[in-house]
Symmetry: C2
Subunit: 324 residues, 2 copies
């Protein structure tokens, strides 16, 4: 395991990939390697990209990788979106398109399976980010999908949050208002040649002007920009608009650094990581033991037969495991 972490620190992509797989599979001793990496983390810019299914996030990210490579930045991508081509959820054509970065050692792309409920996924994401950071990638893009609490948990690992929308998705803007407005740093209208793009643009400008983005303590204000990205059907315009987005993401990072808000984001990120580590050290091993010993199954049986209620049962288990 120490060998593995040394290889990750040396920038070995295959070692990083294997370590992330071990994390997902919850291989014992993986934490020996992860701990070794911890001091090498915290130097990358973590960019969260989220939006509804079908918003074209992966096409956008593919081009964003190219934009970063032109600036000679190394890039890691972690795709958590179950609908993303990275995660194998989608069509072959998209996956083939991604391959253009496959031979570039400055690019690391990895999907995370949406396994493990009760916080396990967000935990795996936080740890995978550490691995990618430690492997020396300057920009780490985390792709998630949707507006639920879990997506918000995951996005808490990011410094800069980009929310991608497409015109014509109806009440979607309402979703953003409700779920993502507090965490969005940049809005992107993808497929901006579609009908309704201007209406969406106006709506988002309104939202952006209302939002104070959580960091009200600072006198320096970041006004959420609304960026338009052209259809991929016009490759040159598409690349150009993604380049502008890339610059805007960098501008946000510089703003975080200058306004000292970066440490706020770091604290938010660290709190999320600690909560997840506590889950992994306290609850997860107990659940594992109950499952392995077949006790979980017999408890479920008792509950189904209404011999006991789940709260009393859980309290009994807690008394066995938790010190008073």
């Amino acid at each position: 395991m120490e060998e593995l972490s040394k290889r990750v620190l040396a920038g070995d992509i295959r070692a990083a990939s294997r370590l992330i797989r071990n994390l997902e599979d919850q291989i014992p001793d993986t934490y020996v390697a992860i701990k070794e990496l911890f001091t090498a983390t915290g130097n990358s810019h973590i960019v969260g990209i989220t939006g509804a299914p079908g918003a074209g996030k992966s096409t956008l990210i593919d081009e964003l990788i190219a934009a970063y490579r032109k600036k000679e930045k190394t890039v890691g991508v972690l795709a958590v979106d179950p609908t993303s081509p990275f995660t194998g959820g989608a069509i072959l054509g998209d996956r083939i398109r991604m391959l253009r970065h496959a031979e570039d050692s400055g690019v690391f792309v990895r999907s995370l399976a949406t396994r493990g409920s009760m916080g396990g996924l967000s935990k795996a994401v936080g740890e995978a980010i550490h691995v990618v950071e430690a492997s020396g990638k300057e920009k780490v893009i985390v792709e998630t999908c949707g507006v639920g609490q879990q997506e918000v948990d995951i996005i808490n690992h990011a410094h800069t949050v980009v929310v991608v929308l497409v015109p014509g998705m109806g009440d979607d803007v309402q979703a953003i208002k409700a779920g993502l407005m507090e965490i969005a740093d940049i809005f992107v209208i993808n497929k901006a040649d579609r009908d309704g793009a201007n209406k969406l643009y106006q709506e988002l400008l309104n939202i952006a002007s209302l939002s104070r983005n959580g960091d009200t303590a600072s006198s320096e204000q970041w006004t959420i920009p609304v960026m338009k990205v052209e259809s991929i059907a016009e490759p040159l315009k598409f690349a150009e608009s993604v380049n502008l987005l890339c610059d805007k993401i960098e501008e946000h990072y510089q703003y975080l650094v200058k306004s000292k808000l970066l440490s706020n984001r770091l604290r938010r990120k660290t709190t999320a990581e600690l909560n997840e580590a506590l889950w992994g050290s306290i609850l997860q091993p107990i659940l594992q033991e109950l499952n392995d010993g077949g006790e979980m199954e017999s408890m479920v049986e008792k509950l189904v037969n209404k011999e006991i209620d789940p709260y009393t049962l859980a309290e009994q288990v807690a008394q066995r495991y938790v010190k008073k």
Copy 2:
């Protein structure tokens, strides 16, 4: 608290509402009331309704309530969707429309705030379902949004899962394939007068024919039906198509009962509840103590300063709290 549970068991809607609010706010002693209710649960049909933001789920549910009331069934609705009018995430017009059931004591509508990460939300949903069941509602509709793991966790509380789609959402069908195909019992195409409805219908029929819906142990097979719901712009057609959906949901329940698959679903549901109760009895009180004592904050500080890594720190906390 015992008083409160007695009132819930007598069908008092205000008591049910208060108990759910107490659960959300994690008021101590709430479990005294919840335990009292447990033996009165398990008799309702739990219907999960999920889909992307903008799929028109709440309009559909509003009409579904009316359809159930015509059949003289009592109905509870728990809305977990952050974009739902029930949860206050959306525009006033929608909320007013919902009010038509406000005076009907056979209908109970309640939103659940998307608070509480790390499994807390799904736990609150499971408990709120118990309260609504205990208050005597025969049908309990749980509305969620999206395709993430958390939505799947929540939907595990349901007997029948309805997935709502609208034409023209692009790769959305891919999302369904990846995220929800395993759990869908009924597909609904909402706003079926829109362009692309027939294409979506064909795609869903293909998916439905491939799916075996997880319950492959049974010889009796449920073929996932694809139902079309007309636009609300034509109220009569809309009501008629929702009536057909209502019948189909009932048909699925009868299928579960006859094929003895209901007990499989019950086991899945009970396992989810037990996992969440264990989280509530074991991890949650520890996190609470760490937060209240300010220790969480000082641990975050140590991590930010890289004095220790989160895994070692979490293990130290585990050693203090967990019996070996």
